[in-house]
Amino acid sequence: MAEEKVETIIVHSAVYKTEYTNKYRNRVKWEKPNEGEILSFMPGTIIDVFVKPGDLLKKEDPLLILEAMKMHNNVLMPFDGKVVSVHVKPGDKIPKKHAMLEIKAI
C-alpha cells in the first residue's frame, strides 16, 4: 500500500494536515539576492564591456552593454565600489540570470 502523503500548513503555530496544490509545491522559494553579482535580467548578447578587474567605480558608472529584445541596455554600477571579476566579453551570448560581473562595495 502506498504510504499516505501528509502535507502540513502552519498558521499561527498550529499545524494543519492538508494537501498542497501543485502551484504551491512548485513555488520559487525566496532567497536573498547577492548584491555582489551583476546578473543578466534577460538572455541576450554582450555588445561591449567597459570595465576590468580592480577598477574603482562610482554609483551609476556604465559597466557594459547587453543587447536584449533588440535594445542596447546600459548596465550600471549599483553603488560605489570595485570590480572583482569580469565573466563576459563582447560577442558572448548569455542566458537569463547569468553572472556577468562580480563587484564589491568599498
Partner: protein, 514 residues
C-alpha cells in the same frame, strides 16, 4: 425569374455558405479533433432552434488580392436559438474559413449579435476558434477587436456572457474571453496566450510547447483564466447547458426555479467533519449534504482549490456557494483563492443569486511569495466583494473562523444577513496555539517546564475562547445550530430573505482593489 427559381437560387446561395471553408479545410479541422463551427452551435442549442443571420456578409479586405477571394460568412457564424427553452445569442468563429481570422466584417457580425443580446437581455455565448487578427485588413481588424471588448464590458453584469475556447485564441483576441463571465476550455483543443512559444523562444530563450504555455490544463489549474475544463467538446457542451440552467437570463431576473428535492447524500452531516480543527475533510460533502438532490455544479475546480465555489439549488432556487476547503492548503485564503471567490461573489450579486458561505479556515497563507505577490490587495478583493453584495448573504461557521479570515468570510461586520455556527465553531483572533504563545509568553518562558506550561495555557485558552459562544454573546452569531439542522435553517433563512432590499450611498461605481 419565377418565384420558384428565386427560391432555388436562395437555397443554392445558402448551400454555398454552409460549406464553410470547403471539404479540405473541414477535413483538416476534423483531423485536429475539432468539430466545425456549425456543428458546435447545433450541439449546444435545442434541436431545430438555431436561426442564422448575416450569412451573405462579404469580407472587406481589398488589398493583397483579397478582393478576388470569397470567404463564407467572413469566417464567423452568428445567430439565436434556445437552450432548454431559454433564448440565447451565439456566435462561432469558423476556423475552416481563412483560419477564422478576424477582419472588419467578421467583427461587425460579432458586434451585431452582441448588441442584440444586450438589447434583448439574453445570454451571449461566443465560440472562439481563430488564428487572430486578419493581417491583410490591418488596423480594421484591431478596430474590430476593440469594439468587441467595449461591448463585453458594457454587457458585463447585465447579461451572462460565456466564452468557449475551441481552438487557438491568441494575442489581443484573448481579452474578449477574459472580460466575460465564464470561460470553457477543452483538453488538447483550447490554446490561449498573449505571446506564442515562437516569440518567447526568440526573445527569452525559454522553450515551451503551446500546450504547456496556454493549453486547457494550464488555464484551468495555473492561471485561473478558465472556469470549466472538459476532456471533449461534447462534455464541454453539456457543461454549458448545465451552467445555463443555473443562471438567469439577465440581471433583472432570477434564475429559473426548479422542482424542489431532498439531498441524496445519506451520510450523517456531523460525521463528515473531524472534531480536531487541524484535520482535513472535503467541504464539498457538506455542500452536497444540504443541496437539492445533492447536486453541486463546481466552478474553477482546479484553480485555487483551497476555496470552493459553485452553484447548487435549495428548494429549486439557485444558490452560489463559497466554502473554505480544509482538504487543500488547510483552506487558507491566499492571492488566488481570494481572487477566485471575489469574482464569483460579484457574479452572484450581479445576477440576483443568494450566497451561502461555509467557513472553516485558519487565516491567510504565510509566505514571502504571497506577500510579494500582493496578498494584501488580492485578499482585499474578497472583503470588498462581500461588503458590496446586496443579495441575501448567509454564513455557516463549521469549525475555524480565525482572525482576518473570520472577518473576510462574510462576517456580520460585512453585513451578512444571517450568521450561523455549529457547536464546533471557534471564532477567535487566532488559533489557541498562536494565541497562548503570545498572551502567556512570559509565563511559558519563566516556567520550570515551558512545554508543559505551553500545553496547559493552550488548553486554558481553548476552553475559554475556542467556541462559538464568545461571538454569540456579542450577537455576531445569530444562532448556534446542530449540524443536522443546517439545511432546514438555511431554507428558512432564504425564505425570509426573499424580498431583501437594501441600498448604499449613491455612487458612479466603487474602486475595488482589482
Amino acid at each position: 425569374m419565377s418565384l420558384k427559381r428565386t427560391i432555388l437560387d436562395l437555397r443554392k446561395r445558402k448551400d454555398e455558405v454552409l460549406k464553410g471553408g470547403g471539404e479540405k479545410a473541414i477535413e483538416k479541422q476534423a483531423a485536429m479533433g475539432k468539430l466545425t463551427a456549425r456543428e458546435r452551435i447545433l450541439y449546444i442549442l435545442d434541436k431545430g432552434s438555431f436561426h442564422e443571420y448575416d450569412m451573405f456578409v462579404e469580407h472587406a479586405a481589398r488589398d493583397f488580392d483579397m478582393d478576388k477571394m470569397t470567404l463564407a460568412g467572413d469566417g464567423v457564424i452568428i445567430g439565436t436559438g434556445t437552450i432548454d427553452g431559454s433564448p440565447v445569442c451565439i456566435f462561432a468563429q469558423d476556423f475552416t474559413v481563412a483560419g477564422g481570422s478576424l477582419g472588419l466584417m467578421h467583427a461587425r457580425k460579432i458586434t451585431k449579435i452582441m448588441d442584440h443580446s444586450l438589447k434583448m437581455r439574453v445570454p451571449l455565448i461566443g465560440i472562439n476558434d481563430s488564428g487572430g487578427a486578419r493581417i491583410q485588413e490591418g488596423v480594421n481588424s484591431l478596430a474590430g477587436y476593440g469594439e468587441i471588448f467595449f461591448r463585453n464590458t458594457l454587457a458585463s453584469g447585465v447579461i451572462p456572457q460565456i466564452s468557449v475556447i475551441l481552438g487557438p485564441c491568441a494575442g489581443g483576441a484573448v481579452y474578449s474571453p477574459a472580460l466575460t463571465d465564464f470561460v470553457f476550455v477543452v483538453n488538447q483543443i483550447s490554446k490561449m496566450f498573449i505571446t506564442g512559444p515562437g516569440v518567447i523562444k526568440t526573445v527569452l530563450g525559454e522553450e515551451i510547447s503551446m500546450e504547456e504555455l496556454g493549453g486547457a490544463k494550464v488555464h484551468a489549474e495555473i492561471t485561473g483564466n478558465a472556469h470549466f475544463y472538459a476532456e471533449s467538446e461534447l462534455e464541454c457542451f453539456e457543461q454549458i447547458k448545465q451552467l445555463i440552467s443555473y443562471i438567469p437570463w439577465n440581471n433583472s431576473q432570477k434564475a429559473k426555479v426548479h422542482e424542489t428535492a431532498k439531498p441524496k447524500f445519506k451520510k450523517k452531516i456531523e460525521n463528515i467533519v473531524p472534531s480536531d480543527p487541524k484535520l482535513p475533510y472535503d467541504i464539498r460533502d457538506i455542500i452536497k449534504a444540504i443541496t437539492d438532490k445533492s447536486d453541486f455544479f463546481e466552478i474553477m475546480e482546479y484553480f485555487a482549490p483551497n476555496i470552493v465555489i459553485g452553484f447548487g439549488r435549495m428548494e429549486g432556487q439557485t444558490i452560489g456557494f463559497v466554502a473554505n476547503q480544509p482538504k487543500v492548503m488547510a483552506g487558507v485564503l491566499d492571492c488566488d483563492s481570494s481572487d477566485k471567490a471575489a469574482r464569483f461573489i460579484r457574479y452572484c450579486d450581479s445576477f440576483n443569486i443568494p450566497i451561502i458561505t461555509l467557513e472553516d479556515l485558519p487565516g491567510y497563507l504565510p509566505g514571502v511569495d504571497q506577500e510579494h505577490a500582493g496578498v494584501i490587495r488580492h485578499g482585499a478583493k474578497i472583503l470588498y466583494a462581500y461588503s458590496e453584495a446586496t443579495v441575501p448573504k448567509i454564513t455557516v461557521i463549521i469549525r475555524k473562523a480565525y482572525g482576518g479570515g473570520y472577518i473576510a468570510m462574510n462576517s456580520r461586520h460585512l453585513r451578512a444577513d444571517f450568521v450561523f455556527a455549529w457547536p464546533t465553531a471557534e471564532i477567535a483572533v487566532m488559533g489557541p496555539e498562536g494565541a497562548a504563545n503570545i498572551v502567556f509568553r512570559k509565563e511559558i518562558a519563566e516556567a520550570e517546564d515551558p512545554e508543559a506550561m505551553r500545553q496547559q495555557k493552550i488548553q486554558e485558552y481553548k476552553n475559554k475562547f475556542a467556541n462559538p459562544y464568545v461571538a454569540a454573546a456579542q450577537g455576531y452569531i445569530d444562532e448556534v445550530i446542530e449540524p443536522e439542522e443546517t439545511r432546514n435553517i438555511l431554507l428558512h433563512a432564504l425564505q425570509v430573505s426573499a424580498n431583501k432590499s437594501i441600498s448604499g450611498p449613491s455612487k458612479k461605481h466603487g474602486i475595488p482593489p482589482f
